[in-house]
């Protein structure tokens, strides 16, 4: 019992410290901290709609978090989630626009498949180069994030530009839109897909032989070959699955939330997802929890801005402090600095 109390004490204390720092700043901004924090929490969890919004904000993060976690499990640090998400989102939008007229039952799966496919193809470029030429995959992913943003912006501004003044595609067909649970929230069927994915991945990772083999792959390549796996190929396959999930994140944003592809729409969804994967130590349930935590900060933050005089910037300052503090407490896995390995090896 005492152990549990002690284990819980540290995170609680750090969160309290963060809140205290924030309180000083909030007072400085001429608001009552109690009111501001009240709205933050109330906005995130206090009302039905607040909860829906929190979950809506969490949805893309669940996807990106899972994508990052899954790849990390097999020892491929997929820092390219952000780029894959862009490609997936654009693909979903393009299909949603140009294949309009099909019934929803056909169109939605088609859009999602396109998103996953394109995202996988994009990820397979570095994946394959790494497999064949042993070029450091991390470096390629990193560059390809910027490339994806530029490339999709070009496409959304050129060949696929929609009838809108911004760099964006046209609106996807109504039939391609994911079902929404309430008119008061962006929360859509994508969340159910995310939850299902969490459940499936949890099951696969914890219970099945496939999960067992994935872990082997990530822990020790030679060992995994020794126990009968084609390590290189298998890792490539899992990376493909990870990229599919990144693509799903993009599809959800387009089909569920925005209705079309906007250039540069992702506000670091990929990187935040990676952080979530790391915080959760690659556990799918942990990903769900931390995604909701980030979603709550986000949706509660919006309401806090609307309901008080606290500037939105301050909320972000608090959010970043919280991320740091919480991660300092939760990251308990064995630590080794991740070496930026030289290309090749």
């Amino acid at each position: 019992m005492g152990k549990i109390v002690r284990a819980a004490a540290r995170p609680v204390v750090t969160i309290l410290i963060t809140l205290a720092i924030g309180a000083v700043m909030i007072i400085n901004a001429g608001e009552s901290p109690a009111k501001a924090y009240g709205i933050l929490f109330y906005g995130a969890f206090g009302t039905g709609i607040g909860i829906l919004n929190t979950l809506a904000k969490a949805t893309p993060l669940i996807f990106t978090g899972l994508a990052a976690a899954l790849a990390d499990i097999v020892g491929v640090f997929n820092i390219g989630v952000e780029g894959q998400l862009y490609l997936g989102a654009l693909a979903a939008a393009v299909v949603g626009v140009y294949a309009g007229g099909l019934p929803a039952g056909l169109l939605i799966p088609l859009c999602i498949l396109a998103a996953m496919l394109v995202s996988v193809l994009w990820a397979m470029i570095p994946g394959y180069l790494n497999y064949k030429l042993k070029i450091n995959i991390f470096i390629m992913f990193f560059m390809m994030n910027n490339m994806a943003a530029l490339f999709t912006e070009y496409l959304a501004n050129g060949p696929f530009k929609g009838n809108i003044t911004e760099a964006a595609t046209d609106k996807v067909d109504k039939a391609a839109r994911l079902y929404r649970f309430s008119v008061y929230s962006d929360l859509n069927a994508g969340f159910l897909i995310a939850i299902a994915l969490v459940a499936v991945l949890w099951f696969v990772l914890k219970k099945t032989r496939t999960g067992y083999e994935w872990y082997a792959l990530g822990k020790n390549r030679t060992f995994s070959e020794y126990i009968g796996l084609h390590a290189g190929k298998k890792a490539l396959c899992v990376l493909a699955v990870s990229a599919m999930i990144s693509g799903l994140a993009g599809a959800e944003q387009v089909l569920g939330t925005m209705g079309r592809f906007y250039a540069n729409f992702s506000n670091d969804l990929g990187f935040t997802g990676i952080s979530i994967g790391l915080l959760a130590a690659n556990n799918p349930i942990g990903v769900l929890i931390f995604a909701i935590f980030f979603g709550a900060l986000n949706s509660g933050g919006i309401l806090m801005a609307a309901g008080t005089n606290v500037p939105g910037d301050l909320i972000e300052v608090l959010q970043s402090l919280m991320i740091l503090m919480v991660s300092a407490d939760f990251v308990i896995r064995k630590w080794k600095p991740k070496a930026v390995k030289k290309e090749g090896k």
Partner: protein, 509 residues
Amino acid sequence: MSLALEMQHITKIYGEVRANDDVSIQAAAGEVLCIIGENGAGKSTLMNVLYGMTRPDGGTIRIGGKEVSFRSSRDAMRHRIGMVFQHFMLVKELSCQENIIIGMEPAKHFVIDRKAAKTKIEALMDQYGMRVALEKPAGELSVGEQQKLEIIKVLYRGADIIILDEPTAVLTPQETAELFVNIRQLAAAGKTVIMITHKLDEVMQVADRIVVMRMGKVVGETKPADTDVHGLSVAMVGAEIPPMRERKETRKEKALEVCGVTCRNEDGIAVLDCLSMVVNKGEILGIAGISGNGQPELARVVTGLLKPQEGKVLLMGEDITAHDRKKRIQDGISFIPEDRNSTGACLDWSIEDNCIAGYQDRFTGRLDVIDREKARTFTESMIQAFRIKTPDGRLPISSLSGGNCQKVIVARETAFQPELVVAAEPTRGVDIGAISAIHNHMIELRNEGTAVLLISSSLDEIFELSDRIAVMFEGKLTALLDPKQVTREEIGLYMSGAKREEELQWEKS
């Protein structure tokens, strides 16, 4: 003789394990002290304490009569203690010279004076008769050379007390012999050498004094002149080592055939050169050879981890060349790899997960779900059968001592009635108790009709276990010998390539 080192009442407790329990040792200048003991007896812990890597929970250390306390290895170094770790501490990409000087660089205004460094190291190398190519990256040296590099590194730091943790575990007999010459030279120069090893004949060769540890305590101290290998082993294990199992007569029937296998590495050099061989059922074929002659590649080709460019592999008459590793596991080829820490086991995993590794299919039920109940029962039975020292199969395998970890691998690889067991260095770094258990188990397998391909750098092991001995030289098998009729010296000639048979008579028996 003056005492260079005294460790008194050292105690170190890890959780519930008393790794060192009131341990006292001492050593004089110019003395070679060997510490022996079972796996997990606390030898490495004691040395880590001495080198400032771990802080003891109690006890004192005196260097040259003065009491000291170390907060880091830097402190230990300052008191002229140097350590060569079992797993070398080298930066593979840096040159040997840089590896030697790091942390104690001769420098003018922080700019490294390479000339001065070189002069100093050259002088040292001359003095102790050890040479390495200073400009080469450390990673390109052979294991023996790397060890020399480590010793030079220690000497460069001016160490008077030099600790060697299992220095011979990965050395060839030649390299070992060379090392011992170096050790004697160091002792002659007034250095204190403390060496940990599991090889008792080596202890008899090189030690001035021997300390025996068991369960974290010193249980005996002796001199080579006052004892023999048997006496040492009894002192170590605390009981008689059980005798070797009887060999039964078995039917000679081909199990494994390797036909003209050629295998080139990335640089295009043929590491296996049109190699052919046969292993019969109920036979242990020992492969002797100096390391670097293609033994690991042979094991990998047979077990399906390496695709040969030419040649065929047959098992029970069936061509399995195209079978990948997974298929070969199903075919009944099991493999005890030479490197248990990086190949044979996943150190982050539990004993249970390691117990089913490679055979996970057998524990998989509907929906691809692993049957944990079955796995647990299996693990328990393995732990019992092999007397693996652990309170619980769900603990990480890294909590086991090296010998027990090796037992887990042997247990797993022999559990499912394999047709063929490829055992590479099955007892490296393992204490004699465990060695005897593993050896006996292999004989038992043989008696049951399993074919065993044994690859070992220890001639003792080869002689003790093999029904026939093949010698490997430059990717080929150059001799097929009967252990009862051949001497070590003769095998040595084959191993060094000075002698070779024209054609091997695999069918003779």
